[in-house]
């Protein structure tokens, strides 16, 4: 059944978690273990169902695949349009993969309101997969907002002591961005309607829609704010450390692993193809902010006394690399950027899980409360070190490949930004090794640390799969990069046509803009008549 071309695999992946929620709703809320198992199995099955996406995905075309396109509210041109291409494929898989592991990672740590917690996590998964698959603006926006609510609850109910502050901050930040995005979507919709007389929210249509330059600027700005908050780019990043620190482990894993990627994905899906000229105009701004983010995030990480906060700030630095590579606007850069999104999801996700393991044992995240843990937890120490090395980009592990591609891309685009970005490589080693040394090396000074247990079976179960991928991507990234190749090339070709016109022959750009403007006025006139 699943091999038939009409099988709606994307919808199945998206809504399977809802089925799980339904089952959980029927279970007595006191039966915690049963609820946990149902949730985990649902997520695991969802991951297994999503695997055929990878194997059946045709890497030879940039067209959307596994497409489902059903009219939804047809008088406004809203349709239920789902599909994946090389850009979103890996992100969907990352989402289903991390969701299953995240449920495992807070198995026993959350013991109050397990039912609500698991429902929130599964609901979140639906939202996240939906965002990556949606090809209709309204559908996209619905999923985008759907995702916010469970995350708000996860932080606000099952979080740490300052959870309310963190949750509200997270919500307000993201909401203000998405409201701007909604306005921009509507403007886009009406512009298109006036220009062509067709009402549509179909995203792919807008990829081919040449917008006038000044309009591109303002709309891009709105989208930019929405996504930059989500990424988060400097200076919109301060919700991130709070949200991460207060969220329970699974929340942090999902937040870092998937939610942050929505921002970068948004740039790839909307920013670049719909507003090519504005994207090019914004390059300096974005590159500067990325480089600031890389250095700033790393520098602030250096002085954190809370492990989780350190990892959270390191995300700012890593996502800076993603943005840098993307806006280098060349093949290496963009591919590196997408791969780095996956890498960051794996490495930082794993780091948060590791912090969670320590927290479950000692109920503190302060670096000063640890020391000498290597003695009592040798296997944990080895895996921790491996993940730390992956995060700082040591060759042989996934981080290196992503950073290498991004830096090659960045240097091709601009020497200066590339130079600045390499500083982050040293700083990354400094803060991670500093933290590792404080936590793992030395003698055990605290009595409580003397009897810590090494890894348990459940902990192996969720950390080892991630490490397998960390090593796999580090040694043989080809299977992952190949899938995105054609899609990225196509994206750049679309962009490239714009760019050559814009950059090489300045007169033409004006010509082109006025041309588009004339078209638009003509259309408007046609409409008026």
């Amino acid at each position: 059944m699943m091999n038939s071309p009409n099988f709606p695999i994307l919808s199945v992946i998206t809504y399977l978690p809802l089925l799980g929620i339904l089952v959980i709703c029927l279970i007595n809320s006191k039966r915690h273990d049963l609820i946990r198992w149902v949730a985990f199995l649902t997520a695991a099955v969802t991951f297994l169902v999503s695997l055929p996406l990878y194997f059946r995905f045709d890497a030879g075309t940039w067209e959307m695949q596994f497409v489902e396109n059903i009219p939804w509210i047809s008088q406004y041109g809203i349709s239920y349009h789902m599909g994946v291409d090389g850009i979103s494929l890996l992100l969907v898989l990352l989402t289903t993969f991390l969701s299953a592991l995240a449920i495992l990672s807070t198995w026993s740590a959350v013991d109050k309101g397990v039912k609500g917690y698991m429902i929130s996590l599964l609901f979140l998964e639906t939202g996240m997969v939906g965002v990556f698959c949606a090809l209709d603006f309204v559908l996209f926006y619905v999923f985008w907002e759907v995702m916010l609510i469970p995350m708000y609850f996860i932080i606000g109910i099952w979080g740490g002591p300052r959870r309310i502050y963190a949750a509200v901050k997270f919500f307000i930040y993201t909401m203000s961005g998405s409201v701007l995005m909604l306005v921009a979507i509507l403007v886009l919709f009406f512009t298109h309607y006036h220009a062509t007389g067709i009402m549509t929210f179909d995203i792919l249509t807008y990829h081919r829609f040449g917008l006038p330059a000044n309009m591109q600027f303002w709309l891009f700005l709105a989208f930019f704010l929405a996504f930059a908050i989500k990424v988060p780019m400097f200076p919109f990043h301060t919700w991130l450390p709070d949200a991460h620190v207060e969220a329970p482990t699974a929340g942090s894993v999902i937040l870092a692993g998937v939610l942050l990627k929505m921002g970068t994905y948004g740039f790839l899906r909307f920013g670049l193809p719909i507003f090519p000229q504005a994207s090019v105009d914004f390059i300096p701004v974005i590159l500067i902010l990325s480089v600031i983010g890389i250095i700033y995030g790393a520098m602030v990480s250096l002085v954190q006394d809370d492990i989780k906060k350190l990892v959270a700030y390191s995300s700012v630095s890593h996502l800076g690399y993603c943005m840098l590579g993307m806006f280098a606007l060349n093949l290496e850069g963009v591919k590196g950027s997408i791969l780095q999104m996956i890498n960051h999801g794996l490495s930082t996700g794993a780091l948060f899980m590791i912090v969670g393991m320590l927290y479950e044992r000692r109920h503190t995240r302060l670096i000063s409360e640890y020391g000498g843990v290597m003695k009592v937890m040798p296997v944990f120490a080895t895996l921790f070190l491996l993940v730390a090395f992956s995060s700082m980009g040591v060759p042989g592990l996934n981080g290196f490949i992503g950073e290498l591609l991004i830096l090659i891309g960045a240097f091709k685009a601009s020497l200066g930004y590339g130079l600045l970005a390499t500083i982050g490589l040293v700083l990354g080693a400094v803060y991670l090794l500093w933290m590792y040394k404080r936590v793992m090396y030395g003698r055990i000074t605290k009595e409580e640390n003397k009897n810590l247990r090494d890894m348990t079976g459940r902990e192996y179960a969720y950390l080892v799969p991630i490490i397998v991928f960390i090593v796999w991507i580090g040694v043989y990234p080809k299977p992952f990069l190949d899938k995105m190749d054609v899609s990225v090339q196509h994206l750049l070709e679309v962009m490239g046509q714009q760019r050559t016109v814009m950059l090489d022959v300045p007169e033409h750009s004006e010509l082109r803009a006025t041309h588009a403007m004339n078209n638009y006025e003509q259309y408007a006139a046609d409409q008026g008549r």
Partner: protein, 665 residues
Amino acid sequence: MSWLFKDPVLLAAVLCTWLPFLSMAVILIFTRHKPQLSSYISIGAVSTSLICALYLLIKLVHVGEPVEYRTAWLIADDIIIPFGYLFDPLSLLMLLIVAVISFLVQVYSLGYMAGDPGFSRYYAFQSLFAWAMMDMVIAPGMLQLYIFWELVGLASYLLIGFYYEKWSAGQAGKKAFVMTRLGDIGFFLGLILLVLGFGDLGIVAMNEAAQAQAIPSYLITASALLIFCGVIGKSAQFPLLTWLPDAMEGPTPVSALLHSATMVAAGVYMFSRIFPFFAASPTAMAIALAIGTITMLLSSTMAMATYDIKQVWAYSTVSQLGFMVMGLAAGGYFAGVFHLTTHAGFKALLFLCSGVFIHEYHSNDMRDIGKGGGRSLKIPMVCMTVGALALSGVFPFSGFFSKEAIMGVLAAYPNKIWLLAGLLGALMTAYYSFRLIFMILFPKKVDATMPHDAVHYHQEKDDKIQIDHEEAAAGHGAAHGHGSSHGHEEGHGNVFWYMAWPLIILTTITLVLGFFQHSLEGFLLGHAADAHGGEGGHGAGHYALLIAAVSMGLAGIAWAYYEFGRKGASQEGFLARLPKTQALFANRWYIDRFLRRFLDRAIYGGLTNVFTRNDRRVIDGGIDGFCLFTIGSGRLFSFLQSGMLQYNLLVMVAAVGLVVLYFVV
């Protein structure tokens, strides 16, 4: 796999470079809890590597052209990193050095590490190092070299921090990794520059293009200088030299293998690997020469002021690496590589001998070892003296020949100041080496009081010694059957001989290697050597130079004898009378303090502080303030519309009053 077996050279190469990796994986995954088995697996792997390296050398010794095997590491279809093997005299020689010393050190460790709770882990890391280092040595392209270069740094980090319970060990490991990485950033940038400007990172291609002047000279200079940053980091050149002495926190065999003989020589190796490329840029060569000289002189002075035997050899390693860089930068390709070769032998020897003393007396302090009766350990004492003689450049030990070769190159250099620096370095080297030897050999009866300036170090050392004791005690507790008790002659058995044999072999190498100078020269330089009769130093002044250099070495020894060796010598050294200078030397010319202050002030105190505060106050504060403002104004308006008539009236009155006031005034 049939392609593998068709070509015995390729098979040997693959076995040689990948068996250690396999051994690491097997140890980490399967035999963690079986220390003896782990060590046998690791030694088995490295001895096979040694045999393969020897086979390769014999097989390829007469091959004129470099033999290259290339395959591609596919990152994606369009991004390919060439991987493979490049066999030319240089890489074959270095491969053999790495294999020999790795093998000897691993055998030696059977004794030194016996009973250590982390025995398996130790051998896993040793295998990791052997794998990374060998793959780095035979790299045909700079990117492969860079990747394994980083992995070698990783192995070094793990091995320095091996005694993880020691605070200073973790600190030293981190410092080593970060400092070398700082240099590696330059290296990486250099490579990127070269990729963008030239497009090929193949070593042969780079060298040929540079010789044929196919690369613009500014590009060569810029990228050569950047790549040289990698050498500065890895080979602990000025100003990134302070990590290496700290790296002595690792077990002594590790110091012998990584931090003297092979890993730190990787920088020098890389320099000689792309020597023609460097040579195409006189500017880069001049800067390298200056940096090498500064490093050599500075670290020699540091070695004169410390009482920790491992520290002495560590500083000496830094200074000899500087000396190699000088030789290479002055144009002496063979001289530099030759000194690298001999140095690997005698410096590993010196460290391993020191290891025997440390293992026996549980102290790194040369005075303690002397008082404890260090001279009674005959084999290590003799071997160490041989090593020290080689280090001082005394005939007929190997160091004499290679130092002579570098001096010859320096003498041929137009500016003689470098030669003078070299001679000064030779004097100091002999002085500090024999200061150590005489202090152990002729211990002073009365306790020498510690100079106050070295208190800082003393403190650290005391901690270390204490920990060493405890760890050793724990180790001995676990070592059943070995009976390596503290008594001198009883029950040494295997442990002693595991440690003694490598010393004897290395001593032999030190004794005979020098006489192979000409065959090595012919091998490394190929036909060029026959035509020119070798490089440098064969002019009329050769004998004068020879006499000058040797007499410098002998003068250093005599000086050390006068101060430390003869009967009734004060054993304080001239530095004790110059407290300021001693403090300067003992504190490493304050390089560390400077770097520390810089970090504290500029990074931790400055930027990170500002950034963190900016995060909390400006960005968050701004947002929070904005929210408060919103909430406050909301309250205000809701207050106005509370529906209570009195307030509405009051507001109206106030408004009217204001309006009236406006009109009246």
